[in-house]
């Protein structure tokens, strides 16, 4: 790496060393800004994955063998008890599934009646979280499925309780999931009770999301369920995301703030489900066309709806717009039950 007896052994050669330091510092800063501003470095990162991935597998290896040994040593009786519990679980779940099938048929008939497009069935891949810790600032985990299993960057990831995050970088045998709580992550959401649409930002804290741009008179209460809105075309609409923890309306600020507790907890369960991306760019195109049409209609009609509740007069109009806008997004999927049980 460094030649023995280089000039470092003799005189200080301070000027040369300082200029080399400056060179490397500049290089690092350029790299960081490229990585931060644009995603130009992605290509480099992806190819570096070829080197880094085996290392990560190496780290995980002792844990995996440990787990396998533990399984081998587990008592016969314990396994039997577990099998019984699982069988009970299966019976319960398949009963649920029956009801669901009935609903599905009914839904399909209704859809035919209203001449709507068929619902897309969402495929999914089960994955396990690898035991590798990444840096404490970014909330990311590594899972044991990758390009080989057909994953691509951007796919939503759920656990049994709710949305967890989306795929960030996909390697050959593993993929990195960026969690909802990552400070870089923003998620288009909808409040289940009121239908209000907004964006949930990661807070950088475990188990906390933030809503920061709510109007002061927003109708939001602790305990409200927050779902994905399906806007943005990455996440299917209607996935459970979080429960509202607290709402504050700080005096002297323009917006109210709310704190959410995510339902999906990757720190509790090790098994995740990677869902297919539902809407491609064409759907987004369709959505925007639909929205423009809705806007035009709205302008033509000019209905005086303000008398309903004068206090909320400002937010009602965009809300109504959103209602019409949301229809295709909500129609596309209702994926959580089918996704979980497959």
């Amino acid at each position: 790496m460094n030649a023995p007896g280089s000039r470092f052994e003799f005189g200080p050669d301070l000027a040369g060393r300082t200029s080399r330091l400056m060179f490397y510092v500049l290089l690092a800063i350029i790299l960081m800004s490229l990585d931060f501003r644009e995603r130009w470095v992605d290509q480099a990162r992806a190819s570096a994955g070829l080197v880094t991935e085996p290392l990560m597998l190496l780290i995980e290896w002792p844990y995996q063998t440990g787990a396998r040994l533990g399984e081998g040593l587990r008592a016969h009786r314990q396994l039997l008890a577990e099998a019984r519990a699982l069988r009970l679980d299966l019976a319960r779940v398949s009963a649920d599934l029956l009801v669901l099938e009935e609903l599905q048929r009914e839904n399909a008939e209704l859809r035919e009646l209203v001449d709507a497009g068929q619902r897309v069935d969402i495929g999914s891949v089960a994955a396990e979280i690898r035991r590798v810790d990444l840096n404490p600032f970014s909330h990311r985990v590594l899972i044991n499925r990758g390009r080989r299993d057909g994953l691509v960057s951007g796919q939503p990831v759920v656990d049994t309780r709710g949305l967890v995050g989306q795929l960030d970088e996909v390697f050959l045998h593993s993929a990195r999931v960026i969690l909802l709580t990552d400070p870089d992550h923003a998620l288009p959401v909808r409040i289940e009770r009121t239908g209000l649409r907004t964006i949930a930002y990661g807070s950088g804290l475990n188990a906390q999301l933030r809503l920061t741009d709510l109007p002061m008179n927003v109708d939001l209460e602790p305990g409200d369920i927050v779902l994905t809105s399906g806007l943005g075309g990455v996440f299917p609409a209607g996935l459970p995301v979080a429960r509202v923890g607290s709402v504050e309306r700080p005096v002297g600020e323009a917006f109210a703030r709310a704190e959410l507790r995510p339902l999906g907890r990757p720190d509790r369960s090790r098994y995740l489900l990677v869902l297919d991306r539902v809407s491609g760019p064409e759907d987004a195109q369709e959505l925007t066309e639909e929205l423009q049409e809705a806007l035009r209609e709205e302008l033509l009609e000019e209905q005086p709806s303000t008398d309903e509740d004068p206090a909320d007069s400002a937010p009602t109009e965009p809300d109504e717009l959103d209602e019409e806008f949301d229809e295709p997004a909500a129609a596309a999927p209702a994926p959580d039950p089918s996704g979980q049980q497959s």
């Binding site: 460094n2 060393r17 330091l21 490397y24 350029i30 080197v51 190496l58 404490p136 600032f137 970014s138």
Partner: protein, 164 residues
């Protein structure tokens, strides 16, 4: 020359081990306070082994760590290059410090490393880290003497085995 060759193997092994230890799973509460293994190993090799004295290898190692841990590409590289520069600048003095003073220097270097991280993370607009993040230099310094003794013993043993 053979001593240097045997050192080479140990150097590479210890650097790889440091990288792996950095990614090792730890309990949630201790995650932010994980010791900075790579910095400790680099400091040891610079002071005692007379290796890792150029900025280039430090930069590459930093990039490697960035890629592995998924941080902003260049963050660890920047911190390690600055560390390497400071170490090289004051090497002659640090080498002849008594052990406790050497440990103090190591602590200072580690805190400096954290400050560089904080600066970049602040510029990137991420939040202030959990307070336990500042425990990491203290834990690292507590590990420093043991790492020092371990690597010294390994090096000596390898040299003895090679020499006859």
């Amino acid at each position: 020359m053979s001593a240097r060759d045997s050192d080479q193997v140990l150097l590479l092994v210890s650097l790889a081990a440091a990288l792996l230890l950095t990614l090792m799973p730890m309990p949630e509460a201790l995650q932010a306070a994980r010791p900075h293994w790579l910095v400790l190993v680099i400091i040891y090799w610079n002071l005692e082994g007379g290796r890792m004295r150029l900025l280039g290898p430090c930069f590459l190692l930093g990039l490697m760590l960035d890629l592995l841990s998924g941080t902003l590409l260049g963050l660890h590289a920047l911190a390690l290059v600055i560390l390497c520069y400071l170490l090289e600048r004051f090497r002659a003095r640090i080498r002849f410090f008594p052990p406790w003073q050497q440990a103090a220097v190591v602590l200072a270097l580690l805190v400096n490393d954290r400050i560089i991280h904080l600066w970049v993370v602040g510029l990137a607009g991420e939040g202030w880290p959990h307070w336990s993040w500042w425990l990491s230099p203290l834990i690292s310094v507590a590990l420093w003497p043991w790492l020092f003794l371990l690597l010294d013993a390994l090096r000596r043993r390898q040299r003895v085995r090679k020499s006859p």
